[in-house]
Symmetry: C2
Subunit: 197 residues, 2 copies
């Protein structure tokens, strides 16, 4: 099972993190991102979006980090990471949407500006980041884990760009509950760091 | 089962559309959006995000339209709308992420500017819309439905803000495959329109 990967991508790191925590073997294929390999064939044949990560498992090809988390956890990771009950799946999907929307366009976008020089509206990214980090901190004041009473793919999806927030010029120190959640994730057996976390 | 609803919200319409297609009874509760009822208690007690839709089913409260689709389909709609196999769920989640990210921040954001006067960067929204509509059209050139070989919650999640694109000043006529997919959705038994589609 191949993961087309960029080490510095938080979206790729979501997948590597789950694989490490759930002990799912992955064949990591580093992609020449600076050279634009993800923007041309053969990678655009696998993912016309021109983005990473991409997972290839036999005939199955998946784009989108949230979808890859669902696949890996559901197929290989066991129900503790992605339960089979629709109600619990829905609790988790709330946070997969948050990862794809508010986190990506908040702390994720701020980091793209500062670390990779993207011409995104930085004040807008910081405004979005402040809102979602406040909501996240309030939620974590009464929850150890995001979606259910144990770590799931919800935590894997939201964690990377929150833990990397300082690379977008965002100070996490006002968010004490987020800080404790980050520490809980880092103490999980098998935890895999990435540069910047 | 209560849906706190705004008729003109594409995110609320996602839920009403699935409920109509899958024949799931919902008690629709209109919210005084212009009066800001979603931004204060008791609604912020249900959803601290201050957003609609919100679903309440007994003790369970869900925010986020994608999560509500998973819950309704998985619990009440049957496996045709949300299958139980992780591989098929992952195919669908790809499009739930697309709905929460590229569609929301593309055609969805353009409509917020034109129809509701939001001070969002309209050229950025149009640029994002052009990219995702092109990718969507190319995908639909070889697929009748987004995720698997039948309509699923993937189609319910992506459809509203695509079908409402003209309200953001976006012309869908160059996207012939999207046009045919829109027509297929409109011909489904039980289809429910919304103003603007």
């Amino acid at each position: 099972m191949k993961l087309y990967d960029l080490e510095l991508s938080g979206n790729c790191y979501k997948v590597r993190l789950l694989a490490a925590l759930a002990q799912i073997p992955l064949d990591i294929v580093p992609v020449d991102f600076l050279g634009g390999a993800h923007k041309r064939p053969p990678l655009t044949d696998l993912n016309p979006w021109g983005e990473l990560p991409i997972l290839v498992d036999g005939d199955r090809v998946l784009r989108d980090s949230q979808a890859i988390l669902v696949y890996l956890a559901g197929r290989y990771g066991g129900a503790s990471w992605w339960p089979t009950e629709p109600a619990l799946q829905a609790e988790i999907v709330q946070w997969l949407s948050t990862a794809a929307n508010e986190i990506q366009h908040g702390p994720g976008a701020a980091r793209l500006v500062d670390k990779f020089g993207y011409t995104i509206d930085k004040p807008d990214a910081l405004r979005r980041a402040g809102r979602i980090l406040g909501l996240l901190d309030a939620h974590l004041a009464t929850h150890d884990w995001l979606a259910v009473s144990r770590p799931t793919i919800a935590d894997c999806a939201v964690y990377p760009y929150v833990a990397l927030a300082s690379e977008g010029g965002i100070d996490l120190s006002p968010y004490a509950h987020i800080g404790r959640w980050v520490a809980r994730i880092k103490s999980l057996p098998g935890y895999l760091p990435m540069p910047g976390t």
